[in-house]
Symmetry: C2
Subunit: 309 residues, 2 copies
């Protein structure tokens, strides 16, 4: 039953190793709950998605903030975006280094500049001017990300690992009690990417889109495929033509597969609070909070429900 | 009368100072002719748009390559993108420095990497690996761009000059004899922008989109507004719903004005070779070549035609 407020989060599509499943599921549930608490207290959709994505960035299980995958050179370069459906305002950062919470920096780009996106050293400069502390790069790197980076550098690299590496990204979409809609997406990008590679995440219409009149989308998956079909805006066009959130999400993912053989997943909301988490990868860790209930799942049509304590 | 091949180029929307009008008009005509010669010789749409945009980058009259506007700090940071309508492949660079022809580097990103966009120092690194020579920053800077930069730093900066400064960008769309469609866009960005600012140009769906099934768009104007409405993809959605190139372009520009009070212009082609150059700024220097004729204009409904020598 659709109702407001609502928040839906994802922790990335792909193949999640068995040993990391429970951490992933717990992480997205915690993020959805935190965003929901914010919304119930009258917080804005923007506040809620930034809160949820901040928790996912801080959680080393996910490929965003701490726990980001490494570039070819072993560095961490992150992309993030936020979008406000009231005004179509947006802020993004690309290839930013040594920042704990890129999603918060993206929000500052939206709130404090006349621009929509700052990249690389220019984004770092802006962070310094805003008083955002620079963190040690090591604080963002986990043993797991080093292991995967090494594995993928070896000549007999396992393509499944590689494939999985393409898939991490975290995101959230929400509608608040006032009916305002927002979304946020954050990522460490693609495993063993070239330095300076910018994926779909900071690219408006690809890695996020929110419009109070239509809804919001946060995607995850093969970034280059998401970009080629401008997946987030595409799904909202289907909704503009009268499709439900579920139909639109499935049509968008099917189109991405048909045209460019890309896989991924999305979380989507519409202005009434209808929501969906859909993917054509093996898994996507997702959770939603609405009407006092927490919904979550990871495989195919899996959908668990429990009361929010 | 629509026919193939066709190429349409623009040299930026905005307020072109009277003294620069004839240079702007000559520049876009020369670029359209060069692209057309390439297409008539059997060249691909991609070859033609890169050829045309390269000429516009080399021409100091336009805000792209040599002649780019300066950042707040007086540096030159450029964005460029290409897109191939056959496969939806695309390549882009953002905030790249000391490169004579960003559009050619964007094409190399498409052709030689698995990524769609490289930014800042990572893009420079890639350029070095590809053997693209680094140029002196001074070679990209004109006396005119220094004059405008100084003028805008002063406390009594002229808002008209500022506004105009937001508007430069060059681009081209083409359909070749095989019916393949491509587009390219290149810019020095926004006058006195923050270092690291990324505008619409390298953002697929915003600063360019090409799909053999629908057509292609290259926009110019206020980058942040173009991004908020993903202008290029938006216009192609209207065409997908049966609108003509002219109707779709006008609807897209009207939508951008209504939703975010943004002005700009676009060149658009469809698979049959129908084309249009439309804008809601005071001026946009544009030229098109088709059926042995050169079309061009700069103000409102202005449309001159002459035979191509």
């Amino acid at each position: 039953m659709a109702s407001l407020p609502v928040i839906v989060v994802h922790g990335g599509a792909g193949n999640i190793p068995r040993a990391r499943e429970s951490m992933s599921s717990a992480g997205v549930r915690e993020a959805a709950k935190a965003g929901y608490v914010c919304l119930q207290a009258g917080g804005s959709a923007m506040d809620a998605v930034v809160e949820a994505v901040t928790l996912l960035e801080n959680n080393p299980t996910f490929n965003a903030g701490r726990g980001s995958v490494l570039t070819q050179k072993g560095t961490v370069e992150m992309d993030a975006i936020v979008m406000d459906g009231r005004t179509l305002a947006s802020g993004a950062v690309s290839a930013v280094r040594r920042i704990a919470n890129p999603v918060q920096l993206a929000r500052l780009v939206m709130d404090k500049t006349s621009h929509l996106c700052l990249t690389a050293e220019g984004a770092s400069q802006f962070a310094r001017n805003m008083g955002i502390p620079e963190v040690q790069e090591e604080s963002l790197i986990t043993e797991y990300s080093i292991m995967r980076w090494r594995k993928n550098l070896s000549p007999d690299a396992n393509p499944v690992e590689s494939h999985m590496g393409k898939m991490g990204t975290v995101g959230a979409v929400a509608v608040d009690l006032q009916g305002n809609i927002a979304c946020a997406t954050s990522t460490g990008g693609m495993l063993n990417k070239m330095e300076g590679r910018v994926g779909d995440t900071p690219c408006i219409g690809c890695g996020a889109y929110a419009d109070n009149k239509l809804g919001a989308v946060s995607p995850t998956g093969h970034g280059e495929a998401i970009m080629k079909v401008t997946l987030s805006r595409l799904i909202l066009f289907y909704m503009e033509q009268g499709k439900s959130v579920r139909e639109a999400a499935d049509m968008g993912l099917a189109y991405m597969w048909d045209r460019v053989q890309g896989r991924g997943g999305v979380v989507v909301v519409d202005p009434k609070g209808e929501w969906v988490a859909r993917f054509n990868s093996l898994q996507m860790a997702w959770a939603a909070a609405q009407g006092g209930q927490l919904h979550y799942g990871m495989y195919g049509e899996e959908h668990f429900t429990r009361d929010i304590q």
